[in-house]
Amino acid sequence: MPINITMPALSPTMEEGNLAKWLVKEGDSVSAGDVIAEIETDKATMEVEAVDEGKVGKIVVPAGTQGVKVNELIAVLLEDGEDASAIDTSAGAAAAPAGGDKVPAVPESAPAVEVGAKAATDPVPAPITADGGRIFASPLARRLAQLNGLDLTALSGSGPHGRIVKRDIEAALAAGTGKAAPAAAEAPKAVAAAAPTGPSADQVLKLFDEDSYELVPHDGMRKTIAKRLTESKQTIPHFYVSVDVELDALLALRAQLNGAAATDKDGKPAYKLSVNDMTIKALALALRDVPDANVSWTDDNMVMHKHADVGVAVAIPGGLITPIIRRAEEKPLSVVSNEMKDLGKRAKERKLKPEEYQGGTTAVSNMGMMGVKNFSAVVNPPHATILAVGAGEQRAVVKDGDLAVATVMTVTLSTDHRCVDGALGAELLAAFKGYIENPMSMLV
């Protein structure tokens, strides 16, 4: 029997993707594990491997097709002795996940935003959060959210273990919160993205002459950034703490360490530490020393993390992504540095795997290389903190009553005040400052 290859879900949140490229053509033989196609999602480009062996009988979705739904039939594989006539074209797009779909537990359709279009008896799929976690909501709450056009990800639950129940929906309706974006309601395929409230597209466009602009459709990354950051600013009470740190000792140590790096036979050094690498390490160690700040908020519990997984914001064309250095507090600087180089390179190529950018316990956003003096970053949940790093610059400082010159940078810690209070944030920054200004302590 021909084997259907369907659009795989490369991450739990993936609903659709672009079929970027076929690496095989009809008639090619493939064996399990062969890379057959490249798929582009909101954040990454991923390779699709064949699960079974056979001959490519038919490519259903051509390369370059945008917005291919998860589980849609993309190709058919023929087993030994079968020819193309065996392909039952009626299998169509509705084909059940089979052969090529190696990712289990796939959400079947877009979140429930098709208001009114569906009869009340249609199944309401269990919603999922932007980072792939399941949202616990009672069936009745899901149905009510659907009927009233509410976005469950924007609500918090008061039921057991934070489950969203009927009274939470009623409260949201009474307060007028949690509305799904109107645009999303009209276009069921779109991921509910833009701000839950705010002017509609029509309202915005009305303000400009029709020929004075061009419309560029949002890609998946833009939608994700919009959704996540809106959610963050709306649900997380941000609190900011700034401190100046002197870099001279750190720069000296960096030069010394880089100078001592062993070289391979091509003369390439084993590592080349950047200020950013040392910042990551210092923040990880500070979180180790102040574990109360290494947390995530949930409605029922404080999630006390045992390791500092530091996300690093990497600007890439069309957006940004935050790959994570896991257990950064345990890793030597050289390892942090090399991992960062690899992650940064692959981030720019959009080749990160979901597990490389999802999760994390804190983040660093460094705009120093762009000459920014200081700024405040938006907490990226489930993180409770994010460190915004400004440029290191020579400044006049007063030392022992005398004016002196020192290389100083300003860092600003944004905290989720629900779990990291001001004083705790200050304590974390003090620990961070200690490592930066006494950088040898990072080596022991």
Binding site: A120, T121, R143, L147, R167
Partner: protein, 489 residues
């Protein structure tokens, strides 16, 4: 740490929580309170377990079980069995009922000990906020009485930050028809009949009245039930209570609806009740005994509530969703805190009350989700809104019905009479109510109660696999019927 021996005795009268009344509400509250780490005491004047397991829920279930088995023995032929010279010994039936009650009564004492809850024996009175004075029991005990548990504390003044009144309720008395314990009974006397009466008038067709009517009818009495409302079991869905009435009429129980007892005359042959119907007609009914089952009223007296300014309304203490009265530190739960006067409501109200005291994140009870069960033959069970109440509340509803006769297990049991009815909000698919009449429905209703609490919709119920062959399959069929998808009908 105890340094001075005196400290212990001092501390002995100081508690975090004192509960007055050890009925199902009180004792469960005490256990939960102890689990939450509160030093807890419970005050009881008469019997551990309260009315529920001494003179209510539990001993009646024992009596009704005897009646049920007797009923089956009478119908042994229907099952291909033979039983001859079937008879019963009223004293033995009552003795079994008392034994069941006694076993559970002793169990409460054990549970208190296990949870380190002190029992204080006597009448409790809240003498001021944070202080309970316990004096010798003044109330004459109903006999036969179970023994007082060992190791209880006695009269004295006790302190507690939180005092929870859980004193329950007692039979309502209609002036002129005061129970005398001889000819005019309450549930107390009806529970321990010296002999089975030949004829009986039951005043009131609520759960208590109907259960005794059912019991005495099965045991051979001629039973007439008098009800003021137009349907029996007035809180139940009228379609369900109508079916129950039809079944009971088939057994020979007579009903006078929209009727009330104007007065009662006691004579040598028992009691003669003058019954006035809606149209003004009067008739005299004579029977050996009359059971007064016209509801219960809260035990709010002699507790010091009035002196402390605790608000009451129509014989019950006024509370908020967490059992708090208007006076800080004084709480009430269960029957004394208002309807529905059911043991399971009292238990849950008590748990919510102490959890709130402990600062837990609890929500007030949704009284629409409290099930009710009546153990007559056939049984009646329900939860949520009745059809008329759902319509009254403005819901656009879908109603599903499934008869016992369409269920394989019911036929095999020889119980083809009954129905399961479900009521859904047409707009949201919320299960608004479920109503059942027939064999074993009191054990079935919890399925719908769980479903309602988890806020399932018709969709989830339709996706749930019910085991075959069971009576519970009818629960799914009823849901399917509400959406025009019934299978076995």
């Amino acid at each position: 740490m105890t340094i001075f021996a005196g400290e212990d005795t001092m501390a002995d009268t100081n508690y975090d929580v004192i509960i007055i009344g050890s009925g199902p509400g009180g004792y469960v509250t005490a256990i939960r309170s102890a689990q939450l780490g509160f030093k807890t005491a419970i005050v009881e004047r008469e019997h551990m377990g309260g009315i529920c397991l001494n003179w209510g829920c539990i001993p009646t279930k024992a009596l009704l079980r005897s009646a049920e088995i007797y009923h089956y023995m009478q119908h042994a032929k229907d099952y291909g069995l033979s039983a001859e010279k079937i008879s019963f010994d009223p004293a033995a039936v009552v003795k079994r009922s008392r034994g069941v009650s006694g076993q559970l009564n002793g169990g409460i004492g054990f549970l208190m000990k296990k949870n380190k809850v002190d029992i204080i024996w006597g009448e409790g009175k809240v003498t001021k906020a944070g202080e309970v004075t316990v004096s010798k029991t003044a109330k004459k005990a109903m006999e036969p009485q179970h023994p007082v548990p060992k190791g209880t504390k006695g009269e004295g003044v006790y302190k507690a930050k939180h005092v929870i009144v859980a004193t329950g309720a007692r039979p309502r008395v209609i002036p002129g028809i005061e129970p005398d314990g001889k000819d005019i009974w309450t549930y107390f006397e009806a529970m321990v009949p010296p002999a089975m009466p030949k004829s009986l008038i039951v005043m009131g067709s609520g759960a208590i009245g109907i259960e005794f009517a059912s019991f005495y009818k099965t045991m051979g009495a001629d039973v007439t039930v008098i009800e003021m409302m137009p349907t029996i079991m007035p809180v139940e869905d009228p379609e369900i209570s109508g079916l129950a009435k039809k079944q009971m009429e088939k057994q020979g129980i007579k009903f006078l609806l929209e009727a009330k007892v104007a007065h009662v005359k006691k004579g040598a042959g028992g009691v003669t009740a003058t019954v006035e119907t809606k149209d003004g007609k009067k008739q005299d009914l004579t029977a050996e005994k009359l059971i007064s089952a016209v509801g219960v009223v809260g035990n709010i007296e002699n507790l010091g509530l009035e002196e402390l300014g605790v608000k009451t309304d129509r014989g019950c203490v006024v509370i908020d969703g967490y059992g708090r009265t208007n006076v800080p530190g004084i709480y009430a739960i269960g029957d004394v805190a208002g309807p529905p006067m059911l043991a399971h409501k009292a238990e849950h109200e008590g748990v919510i009350c102490v959890e709130k005291i402990a600062g837990k994140d609890v929500h007030p009870m949704d009284k629409k989700m409290i099930p009710g069960c009546t153990y007559c033959h056939p049984q009646v069970a329900s939860v949520g809104l009745t059809e008329p109440k759902a319509k009254e509340a403005g819901y656009d509803i879908k109603v599903g019905r499934f008869p016992f006769v369409g269920n394989g297990k019911a036929i095999a049991l020889g119980e083809p009479d009954g129905m399961i009815k479900t009521i859904f909000d047409a707009k949201t698919g919320q299960l608004l109510g479920a109503h059942m009449v027939g064999a074993e429905v009191t054990e079935l209703i919890q399925g719908y109660v769980v479903a309602m609490n988890l806020e399932t919709t018709e969709e989830d119920l339709m996706h749930t696999v019910f085991p075959h062959p069971t009576l519970s399959e009818m629960m799914k069929e009823s849901v399917l019927d509400a959406y025009g998808r019934v299978l076995n009908m």
